[in-house]
């Protein structure tokens, strides 16, 4: 294992992307085989790298501290392995799901290009290569959304690009500040106290990382993309890759680059971002009528738990946040893939039109239910474990309000998944959807694998916690701080767990109440909350995107540009339009008139020119 091998996770997918893009449509089989095989190689090397754990490849690059520096250590090798794992599942799924998509070839190529950039970003140990790979992700993000092919896809793609671009810009600014403060761009050497300029750098980099993960208020493109982009894309980027990358960077920022202390302003800022994201996004998720949109709001809401966990700056909270990241990537990817499976057979994901699919699509239903229970935090699945750890962390900081916010999130998460699962897989068959069959194996297999992992990571939570999570905290945990995850998490009979279980019961009662009130129609189960006085108006405003900073920003810019256009541009334009062009064309007209085609004239000019030149030269020569 030479250090040069670290280039493999970057170069292999990049080369594959180029090949996949060039392969003609008729060689689709070869394309699929190549893609799955390439992903398998990456998974294999993911395990190899995970076992090696310590490798560094640095070559001088641009000078001035800017080196092409890749570093493999336990955290990056863990993320690398996770990325490769999701890549192969998504690739397998896409071979069926994107088969007849008009731009399926491009989809595969972009997926692998994304993987190349993501691997590079995870391995980068110098800010300049990091920014390079991080920005590369923007390009594929845009490309992948436009593949959705709906009339609004282009608009959503631009929205995603601008929002992510803003976050990246903030991150670059933060990196610049941090570089100034610390004097080095080598990431492994940086560790500063977040005060003064460094505090600004922290906030900017936090925006970059949390924005990539999709935390509020940088989330608004995700629900739009849920309907405008291919569902495979949703399972790939917003559900898995972006969470892994964003939370990876957030953890690096708050654990390595800056030493965030529990109870410090930075810690509280992070916790506020997390708590607000949890509650607001889950409330939006509750009232969605489309399965994909519902899932996308949860993809935002769950980021809140991760940010909250890391923000506690307490070992168990941080570990919970990171554990939640990998858990979330698994079940949310699984949920999106199940939604895709339903869409594949039933042709729709609208809750109203679906029902009773558990008999026709038992495997998809099983996968969905396991993942949905996991995300809701039902014992003994993985979501339960990581959420418990975040609750404990939040409580230990002494700010109970954050724990309460997290519990509120748990209530509505479960309620909305009861509604979704009930509408789609239980109840009566609807007339809108004809007889359907279970999806093909390439679609079902990834879902079942993810569901299986959810069970495994929940029941044997010791395995991921000791294997993946604990080493990341090595060197960060306070001396003597309790790092005994298992005793905290799996003990059902402690106060925290009992409150959590109480939340789930409450959610079930809420759902039952709404279900009965809505005339035994599951998709109306959230209506009682939706209709609450005051809340209803807020929901309406949110649906009209009043709270979307992007949409509001666009409106403000429109207004500003109108004012500028009327007050500044038009007068200037008048100067150009009337004064400059008229003078210009007058002058041109005179010159054209002089060029009348009479060569005698031209000759006369030449002679006049000669005389003037001779005169001028003689005069000047004296």
């Amino acid at each position: 294992m030479t250090p040069k091998m670290l280039l493999l996770p970057i170069l292999l997918p990049a080369a594959l992307a180029a090949i996949l893009l060039l392969l003609p449509r008729t060689l689709r089989l070869l394309r699929d085989v190549l893609a799955v095989a390439g992903a398998a190689v990456l998974v294999y090397y993911g395990f190899v790298f995970f076992s090696v754990k310590d490798l560094r490849y640095a070559v001088p690059w641009l000078g001035m501290g800017i080196d092409f520096d890749l570093r493999l250590y336990h955290f990056s090798s863990f993320i690398l392995l996770a990325l490769a794992g999701f890549l192969i599942l998504i690739t397998l799924y896409a071979t069926v799901k994107m088969k007849d998509a008009p731009r399926g070839r491009e989809f595969m190529a972009y997926v692998f290009l994304t993987a190349a950039f993501a691997n590079g970003a995870v391995l980068a140990n110098n800010f300049v290569p990091l920014v390079f790979f991080w920005e590369g992700l923007l390009v594929t993000l845009y490309g992948l959304i436009t593949i959705g092919g709906r009339p609004t896809s282009g608009r959503t793609a631009v929205k995603a690009l601008l929002i992510s671009g803003f976050c990246d810009f903030a991150m670059i600014l933060g990196i610049g500040l941090l570089w100034t403060v610390s004097g080095t761009a080598t990431m492994s050497e940086i560790s500063v106290e977040p005060t003064g300029l460094a505090a600004a750098a922290f906030v900017l980099m936090m925006i970059g990382a949390a924005g990539k993960a999709g935390a509020m208020p940088f989330h608004t493109w995700i629900p739009d993309a849920a309907t405008d982009a291919p569902v495979t894309f949703m399972a790939f980027l917003p559900a898995a890759f972006e969470k892994l990358l964003g939370i990876y960077l957030l953890a690096r920022v708050s654990l390595d680059f800056f030493k965030i202390q529990p109870g410090s302003a930075m810690s509280i800022l992070l916790m506020i971002v997390g708590a607000v994201t949890i509650v607001l996004a889950v409330l939006m998720a509750l009232v969605q009528t489309d399965l994909k949109r519902l899932l996308s709001y949860h993809a935002v809401s769950q980021v809140g738990y991760m940010v909250l966990g890391i923000g506690t700056a307490i070992p168990i909270g941080i570990a919970g946040g990171i554990f939640h990241m990998i858990n979330h990537a698994m079940y949310k990817s699984g949920l999106f893939l199940s939604a895709g499976s339903v869409e594949h057979r039933a042709g729709t994901t609208e809750l109203k039109k679906l029902g009773g699919l558990r008999r026709d699509m038992p495997l998809t239903a099983f996968g969905f239910i396991v993942c949905a229970l996991a995300i809701s935090g039902v014992w003994p699945l993985n979501g339960f474990v990581s959420k418990e750890m975040v609750f404990h962390g939040a409580l230990e900081t002494g700010y109970t309000v954050f724990a309460i916010a997290a519990w509120i999130g748990a209530i509505f998460t479960f309620a909305s998944f009861l509604k979704a699962g009930h509408s789609v897989f239980f109840g009566e068959r609807t007339r809108e959807v004809p007889e359907v069959r279970e999806s093909p194996p390439a679609i079902v297999l990834p879902i079942l694998v993810l569901a299986g992992l959810c069970i495994l990571f929940g029941v044997y939570n010791k395995l991921p916690l000791t294997l993946f999570i604990q080493p990341i905290l090595a060197g960060h945990a306070e001396a003597g701080a309790p790092l005994d995850f298992t005793s905290h998490a799996l003990d059902v009979f402690n106060m925290v767990a009992l409150i959590s279980i109480g939340c789930l019961v409450l959610a079930f009662l809420l759902h039952r109440h709404g279900f009965l009130k809505g005339g035994r129609k599951a998709h109306l189960a959230s209506e009682p909350i939706h209709r609450l006085p005051g809340v209803h108006q807020l929901y309406d405003l949110a649906e009209r995107r009043v709270f979307d900073p992007y949409e509001q920003g666009v409106k403000v810019l429109h207004g500003l540009s109108t004012v500028l256009f009327k007050a500044v541009d038009r007068p200037i334009d008048f100067v150009y339009e009337k004064i400059v062009t008229v003078t210009g064309s007058k002058f041109t007209g005179i010159l054209k008139k002089a060029h009348n085609g009479h060569y005698a004239n031209y000759l006369a000019w030449c002679l006049a020119g000669l005389i003037i030149l001779a005169g001028a030269l003689s005069l000047l020569a004296k």
């Binding site: 041109t588 007209g589 031209y602 000759l603 020119g609 000669l610 001779a614 003689s618």
Partner: protein
């Protein structure tokens, strides 16, 4: 063996009409292009090695007897040779398809090679009479080439071109006579040495004025420019490309620069006059270009304007100004050659040169449209294309030398340039497709290939401008910056 640059095209040109009797198309095409490829490779690959140890001199002999022609190759002439072979080759490749409907390909290629030989000779000679001789060789071939279509317009344009060009040549001859009368010598080195001892300011001024008018007419500087917009558009497209891209630069700018900078030495008076001529050309021709409806006429006026930039840069006389001027000469040769070729493609496809009749051709001729855009943006000076860098160098040189007024003129005129080129691009290629051209097809292979070649060169040189300047332009600019020393010192036999 630098005589090959002159002798080879002449010999091939002599053989071509005979070959034409055997094969009407394939062999003449092959032979002419192979000759140009050889010249390009010879100049570009071995040229720098030849002059590594200083200028290379060759005495031309005939049957063992020395004749009165001596050739010299230095950085400046090598630079020009490369430009001539490159653009000459592109235009000749273009002609493979384009000249198909004119007929008489063998004759065309023969005349074309004579013109190339004339230009190469002019670049290589090192005496004043040789300059005149090869000036006329190239010019006479070009008269015939402008008239090659034998239509009414072509004949009229050729006649007008001839009438004014002969005036220019005769003034050059008069200038040579004055110098010969004063110094009793024609060779650059001897003339330069003699002039330094003579101290005859006024007579040199008269000779300079005669040369300025003669070469200025060839280079189409305002006010000696009026023939060019008639002559260049009427010629077949590859000839327009070579006339605008090469001939005015070789027989005008090169000859003028060589004589003024290396033989006379650039006096402040000459410098001032050159810069004023350049600036006036830039502005007047840019306005004239703006008013044109005929695509090739617009390009022709643009040539006048861009030669103004070259003369402005060289006339400034600082090493940076000279380098900028020469780099712009090269870039303009590429880009203007490219634009005349694309305009030829358009004319070939639609039969018109009127911009108002075109419209939306990008939908039918995407490659031509893209190449045209590259050329237009390059001349207009849009980064990262080559024209941007050369204009930038000229402007920086002007500012450094304390000539802010000229710098501002150069900047403002480049806005005008961008304006009329965007006008051209929009009217011809963008916008809705004129239904008349619904059946139009992309130009044939060789025409497209040669335009793409030039467009790629514009782009590549723009990106690699630093190494291009260091490899080709700087040695040429060094020769000019050395002034009189360049020919009196190392050129002696």
């Amino acid at each position: 063996m630098i005589i090959l640059f002159v002798a080879l095209p002449l010999v091939v040109a002599a053989v071509l009409p005979l070959v034409g009797k055997v094969s009407r198309r394939v062999l003449p095409d092959l032979l002419a292009n192979a000759t140009l490829v050889f010249l390009l490779v010879y100049a570009a690959v071995t040229g720098r090695a030849l002059i590594a140890g200083g200028p290379l001199l060759q005495q031309v002999t005939w049957l063992g007897e020395a004749v009165g022609i001596r050739l010299a190759l230095d950085g400046f002439s090598l630079f020009m040779l490369v430009a001539v072979s490159l653009v000459g080759l592109a235009a000749s490749l273009f002609a493979i398809d384009y000249m198909e409907h004119y007929g008489g390909k063998a004759n065309y290629h023969a005349l074309y090679l004579i013109m190339i030989a004339g230009m190469n000779g002019l670049i290589l000679v090192n005496d004043l009479f040789g300059v005149y001789l090869f000036l006329e060789v190239a010019a006479i071939a070009s008269y015939a080439l402008v008239a090659f279509g034998l239509g009414h317009d072509e004949l009229e344009a050729a006649f007008k071109y001839l009438a004014l060009s002969v005036v220019g040549s005769s003034f050059v001859l008069a200038g040579i006579a004055v110098i010969f009368g004063m110094t009793g010598s024609l060779e650059f080195g001897a003339v330069a040495a003699a002039l330094r001892e003579l101290d005859a300011g006024a007579v040199v001024a008269i000779a300079s004025a005669l040369f300025l008018m003669g070469f200025g007419l060839k280079a189409a500087l305002v006010p000696f420019h009026a023939w060019l917009p008639d002559a260049h558009p009427s010629a077949p497209a590859p000839i327009s490309a070579v006339l605008s891209g090469l001939l005015i630069k070789v027989s005008g700018v090169y000859a003028m620069t060589r004589i003024f900078l290396n033989v006379f030495g650039l006096t402040p008076a000459l410098s001032a006059v050159l810069m004023v001529l350049g600036a006036v050309s830039i502005v007047v021709a840019a306005f004239l270009a703006l008013g044109q409806k005929d695509m090739k006429r617009m390009l022709a006026y643009s040539s006048i304007s861009q030669v103004g930039y070259v003369v402005l840069g060289i006339g400034l006389g600082t090493p940076l100004g000279i380098a900028g001027g020469l780099f712009h000469l090269f870039n303009h040769a590429l880009a203007k050659g490219l634009l005349f070729l694309t305009s030829g493609s358009v004319q070939h496809a639609t039969g018109t040169r009127d911009l108002d009749e075109m419209g939306g051709l990008a939908k039918r001729m995407p490659i031509t449209a893209a190449a045209n855009l590259v050329g237009a943006l390059s001349i207009a000076g849009v980064p990262p294309l080559n024209g941007f860098w050369s204009k930038l160098i000229i402007i920086i040189a002007l500012v450094q030398a304390g000539e802010p007024v000229f710098a501002v003129i150069a900047v403002l005129a480049s806005v005008l340039t961008l304006w009329y080129y965007l006008l051209m691009q929009r009217k011809a290629f963008f916008g809705p497709l004129n239904e008349k051209w619904a059946a139009v097809k992309e130009a044939p292979f060789w025409m497209t290939a040669s335009t793409v070649l030039l467009a790629l060169l514009c782009l590549g040189i723009g990106i690699l401008f630093a190494s291009t300047v260091a490899t080709w332009v700087q040695p040429a600019a060094d020769v000019l910056a050395d002034g009189v020393q360049a020919v009196t010192g190392s050129w002696g036999f």
